[in-house]
Amino acid sequence: MNNNINKAFDAKVTMADGAERLLSDLWKKQPLVLIFLRHLG
């Protein structure tokens, strides 16, 4: 486990439904657990 206190990068992202959002919109109201998958399955 690695811990740090760096600021997360913000970016425009595309959701699976095609909607575009700012990544920061996802953490503004509640902590965000961002899980990067290796594959879809």
Partner: protein, 131 residues
């Protein structure tokens, strides 16, 4: 994914939003969500822009063929994990980040091999630092 799905209520109770990032196009991602009844939002990142931005590691070609990776893959299958659809770069390794409401990364896990995932309880414990 099965473990995460089972713990969804705990993430909800912790007041956290779980969002997945995958290398599929929006169409592939939507199909994945539907097929596996994924209860979390999914970001489509076919060009791996976010993967690179967050500094996630890539497996070397030798690592991809290493016996230890093969053994871990077989063990995962015997535990009931499905074999994923190889969409995107198969050398890409996964990772997990917890970002607090102030935008600070309070937890990060950079996988060292394809089977290197923190279990959901570890993530839930780390969430306490993000409140």
């Amino acid at each position: 994914m099965a473990q995460l799905r089972q713990k969804k209520q705990y993430f909800d109770r912790a007041g956290a939003q779980v969002v997945l990032v995958g290398m599929g196009t929006p169409e592939e991602s939507a199909a994945f969500e539907m097929k596996f009844d994924i209860p979390f939002p999914l970001i489509s990142d076919p060009k791996r822009r976010l993967y690179r931005t967050f500094g996630l590691k890539m497996l070397s070609a030798l690592g991809l063929l290493s016996p230890s990776v093969a053994v871990k893959g077989i063990l995962a299958i015997t535990k009931g994990h499905t074999v994923g659809i190889p969409i995107g770069d198969v050398r890409q390794l996964p990772g997990v980040f917890i970002i607090g409401t102030d935008g600070r990364i309070v937890y990060s896990h950079f996988a060292n091999d394809p089977s290197d995932h923190p279990d959901p309880d570890t993530i839930l414990e780390a969430l306490k630092g993000a409140q």
